[in-house]
Every structure is written in structure tokens, then in C-alpha cells.
């Protein structure tokens, strides 16, 4: 399925500046096919920027970015193999568009300019809505949803093309606990079918039991390791700049950040 062997996403010595400030510093990261990787880090750490670099939305100052073995801007039709859920969507909530139409737009990536969606695309959109349990919202205008429902719409849109690479930026913000658990289970299942998933989350305690690896990011990459190894590294402490305890409560490990004096 994926073109060539090698990692699905590879960053080599990637440095990114925004408004003249270094926000990502010499990042080396490689994510293999069917990896489920969580990126954690404090606010302003550069997590969103990292995803945007992978998507080709932000151009690095130096270093090399390869997605499916190619620079993101040269992916062309392969862009349809990437699903993305942005942290905040800049859409106008008064826009006259329904939930179904929003999800259908996800299929435009593989359709190409000027082509009309066909019945297979409509089916894919319907299936994506079913998957997220929002089929009954299909005809609702996008502005008439709760924040959590809307987030599920964007997740459905990211899944509509059956992507090979999923990039999710705090996708469960505002989504309730039951749906969140169901959603991580869904991501886990997608991973089992060979999809590569990169998930930005503050909810390390919850994601730790689902993901294969955790990348600790704060301008530079402090660690990229198995979730149960995170506690062994100085990474969290170095990254958050304070003492962080990593606890196991039953199945789900938790991170507890101690207050600074």
C-alpha cells in the first residue's frame, strides 16, 4: 500500500522558525508503518507545528521531511492518504453546510479538482459518520452541533478516505469520556489494520494504554520511546521543567505534575 519501504514519516534535523523564533529545534523522528505514536508536551511546545510540518503547511528552515518517502509538497494525489484533524478549525460556524456535506468534503482530496463525488464517495461519507456514531446528525447544519459533536465530524472527515496516515491534534478536546475511550479503541483498530497514527494529546495517562510510542516534545524532542519507558527517562522532568510523577492506576498509567514552589 505505502510507496516504498522505510518509515511513513521521517524528520531529519528539522528546525522550524516562526516569526524569527526557533519553535522546533533539530527534530529527528521517524514513525513506521502501523505505528501508533502520541506526541506530548506543554502548551507552546511545538506539537501543532510539528504536525503542520508533516502536512507541508509549515516549511522548515532546515532539515528534511519525508512522508511516504517524499517531501510533503510533492505528494500530489497521495495527499488523499493523509487524514488530519486540526486542533482548532477556523471554519465559520454560520456556514450553510451540513454534517454530511462536511464529511463528504474529505473525499475531495482523492477526487481532484473539477470532478464530482460519486455514489462510492457518498457511501464512504455515510460509513465515516456511522463509525463515529453521528449518523443521525447527518443533515444538521455544522453550526448547530455541540463542540464535541463537531469534533467527531472532523474526525469522520479525516477518516473518510481510509487514510494510511492519520494526524490528530488533540482530537478529543471536548469529547466526552465514553466517546473518547471508544475513539482511542477505534484508532487502535485502525492501527491494527496497518494505518499509521500520530496523535497529539495532553491526556498521556489515557493514551498511554493505547499507543506504541510516546514522543516528548518541547521545542526539541526529549524522548521517543514506549509509553512505559517514559517514566524511566528524565524527559518529562526536563520537558515540563518540574517534577512529574508517572503513576499506574490499574491499567492506565497517569502523569502527575507537581506544583512549582
Amino acid at each position: 500500500m505505502t510507496s516504498g519501504a522505510g518509515p511513513v514519516v521521517q524528520l531529519k534535523h528539522v528546525t522550524v522558525c516562526r516569526s524569527g523564533v526557533v519553535v522546533l529545534d533539530d527534530i529527528n523522528l521517524s514513525v513506521n508503518k502501523a505505528d501508533f505514536c502520541a506526541i506530548i508536551g506543554p502548551n507552546g511546545a511545538g506539537k501543532t507545528t510539528l504536525l503542520k510540518v508533516i502536512l507541508g503547511l509549515v516549511e522548515p528552515k532546515s532539515g528534511e521531511v519525508l512522508v511516504f518517502g517524499k517531501p510533503p509538497r510533492e505528494l500530489g494525489a497521495q495527499k488523499a492518504k493523509i487524514g488530519y484533524v486540526p486542533q482548532v478549525s477556523s471554519i465559520d460556524l454560520r456556514f450553510p453546510i451540513s454534517v454530511f456535506e462536511t464529511v463528504l468534503m474529505g473525499t475531495f482530496a482523492r477526487l481532484g479538482v473539477g470532478a464530482r463525488p460519486r455514489s462510492a464517495d457518498y457511501q464512504a461519507a455515510r460509513a465515516a459518520l456511522e463509525r463515529l456514531g453521528i449518523a443521525e446528525l447527518a443533515d444538521k447544519p455544522i453550526g448547530r452541533l455541540s463542540a464535541g459533536q463537531r469534533q467527531r465530524v472532523f474526525i469522520a472527515r479525516a477518516l473518510v478516505n481510509n487514510p494510511e496516515l492519520l494526524l490528530l491534534d488533540e482530537p478529543t478536546t471536548g469529547v466526552d469520556t465514553a466517546v473518547t475511550a471508544g475513539f482511542y479503541t477505534l484508532l487502535r483498530q485502525l492501527k491494527e489494520t496497518g494505518i499509521t497514527v500520530i496523535l497529539v494529546s495532553h491526556d498521556i495517562g489515557v493514551v498511554a494504554s493505547y499507543v506504541d510510542s510516546v514522543a516528548c516534545l518541547n521545542r526539541s524532542l526529549f524522548a521517543h520511546c514506549r509509553p512505559d519507558e517514559v517514566q524511566c527517562t528524565e524527559a518529562l522532568r526536563a520537558m515540563y521543567g518540574c517534577d512529574v510523577a508517572y503513576l499506574h492506576h490499574g491499567e492506565a498509567p497517569h502523569i502527575v505534575v507537581e506544583e512549582h514552589e
Partner: protein, 270 residues
């Protein structure tokens, strides 16, 4: 009414009004949703510079205005994208500069003032066969472009970032939209004039968006409002002996007032 239509000039005016009212209103839905209304007004005023340049060079003023407005539209788009100047600031600058250019050129020429008045305030009654031909061609081009790029323009207007991620040529499509605006606006100047033309683009779409929460229905409703306002306004103006441009714009404003008052969209939102 049937008597009126028997006159050649009225037939031409009617056809021009239907076509222009329709295409302006269709483009208007994208314009309103993407917040480009002010760019529309800027392009319209820039056409004054274009017309004056055309007149000074002795070429077809409308042709000159089309070229000039396309350039201005791209320049506004380019400067707001690349230089970080906000769109409305870019428009504010181009708006005044191109108008000033027009005023300057007109001042240097003699005997053109009267003719230019028809560009400022429109003169649909004096639409010539040549004007009509141009209107038909522009309407056909716009109709084809909208039919082909309907969903792509919708995507870039709704969620430009997602459109980039999906691999759409978002910048090209944005320039396409600006170009369509320039074409439509210059053509529409014959009907209502430079000063009022952005109303033909903005008001029907704004009214339609009060009525429905579906993009495709909004586009149909906008076209219906645009066409019917132009036709009714034209007849009303002829009957009352007032300026057709003003009558059309005021009629559209009245339609907007009614749709805003009864707005099912707003009611459902409460």
C-alpha cells in the same frame, strides 16, 4: 409592460439585467461566505481607473477595465497573501489609488466627463448589442467555471486549511475566484454603475443566506433574487421614470430586509 418589451433597447436591457443579476448573485454566495465583499467594492472602484485608461488610450473602455480590474484583483490577493497586509487594508489602498488614477486621467482629458457618468451610475437602457454580446460571453464563462469548480470553490471558501491538506490548488482557486469577481463586476457596471455594483454581488447572497442553511439552495435562491430584482427593478424604473440602477439596488435591499425579518435561519438558531 408588453409594450415596453417591444422596444429593442428594452429587450437588450432586460436580457442584460437577467444575465448580470444572475451571475453576480451566484458569485456573491462565495464572496459573502468568504468575506470578500469589500474586495468586490474595491474592484468596482478600480474599474474607474480602467475605464479612464481605456478612454485615454482610445481602446474599448470596458475591455480596458476588465484587464485593469483583473490585475488589481490579483494584486489585492497577492499583497494580502504575501506581504501580511490584511485584505481590507490592501483594498483600502488599491481602492483609493485606482480611483485617483482615474480622476487624474479624466482631468487630463477633455469632453469625457459625461460619458464617464454612465460608468459611475450605470445606463442599462443604453446597452448596445456589443455590450450585450460581452455580457452573454461573460455569463457563459462564469456559468461554466462555477459548474466545473463548484465543489472546489466551496471547499476553499469553507475550510482553506483542510483544502490545502487535501492537496487542492487553493491559491490558484482563490485567484480564480478573484478573477471571476473582476469579470462579473466590470460587466455589471453597465447596469448599476461603479458605485452600486457591489450591491448586486452582496445583497442577493446575503438575503439567500437568511433563508437556507444549505449551500446549493443558497446559490439557487441568490440567483432567483438577483434575477427577479433586476427584472422588476428595470420595469419599475421605466414606469416611475427613475434610475434603473438605483431602483434595482433598493429593491434588492428591500428583499434583504424582508428575508432578514422572516429569516428561518435566524429563528432556528434562537
Amino acid at each position: 409592460m408588453t409594450d415596453l418589451v417591444a422596444y429593442g433597447y428594452m429587450q437588450r436591457a432586460l436580457l442584460a439585467a437577467v444575465l448580470i443579476g444572475g451571475v453576480c448573485a451566484v458569485i456573491g454566495v462565495y464572496v459573502v461566505l468568504r468575506g470578500l465583499a469589500f474586495i468586490g467594492a474595491g474592484i468596482a472602484h478600480a474599474s474607474f481607473g480602467g475605464v479612464a485608461i481605456g478612454a485615454a488610450l482610445g481602446v474599448n473602455p470596458v475591455g480596458a477595465a476588465i484587464v485593469f480590474c483583473l490585475l488589481v484583483a490579483w494584486a489585492i490577493g497577492y499583497s494580502s497573501k504575501k506581504s501580511g497586509v490584511k485584505e481590507d487594508t490592501a483594498v483600502g489602498i488599491f481602492f483609493a489609488v485606482t480611483m485617483a488614477l482615474g480622476v487624474l486621467i479624466v482631468g487630463l482629458m477633455e469632453g469625457y466627463r459625461v460619458d464617464l457618468m454612465s460608468y459611475l451610475f450605470g445606463s442599462i437602457i443604453s446597452v448596445t448589442w456589443q455590450d450585450l454580446w460581452m455580457t452573454v460571453s461573460v455569463a457563459a464563462v462564469i456559468a461554466i467555471l462555477v459548474a466545473v469548480f463548484y465543489k472546489d470553490l466551496l471547499f476553499i471558501v469553507f475550510d482553506p486549511e483542510a483544502a490545502i491538506v487535501a492537496g487542492l490548488p487553493v491559491e490558484l482557486l482563490y485567484y480564480l475566484l478573484l478573477s471571476m469577481m473582476a469579470l462579473v463586476i466590470v460587466t455589471a457596471i453597465k447596469v448599476v454603475g461603479i458605485v452600486l455594483v457591489s450591491a448586486l454581488v452582496v445583497i442577493p447572497a446575503a438575503a439567500a443566506l437568511q433563508l437556507t442553511e444549505r449551500f446549493n439552495r443558497a446559490m439557487l435562491a441568490s440567483a432567483a433574487i438577483g434575477v427577479s430584482s433586476c427584472v422588476v427593478g428595470l420595469f419599475a424604473a421605466d414606469w416611475l421614470g427613475v434610475s434603473p440602477g438605483a431602483a434595482i439596488v433598493l429593491l434588492e435591499a428591500a428583499v434583504f430586509g424582508v428575508t432578514a425579518a422572516v429569516s428561518p435561519v435566524r429563528r432556528r438558531a434562537l
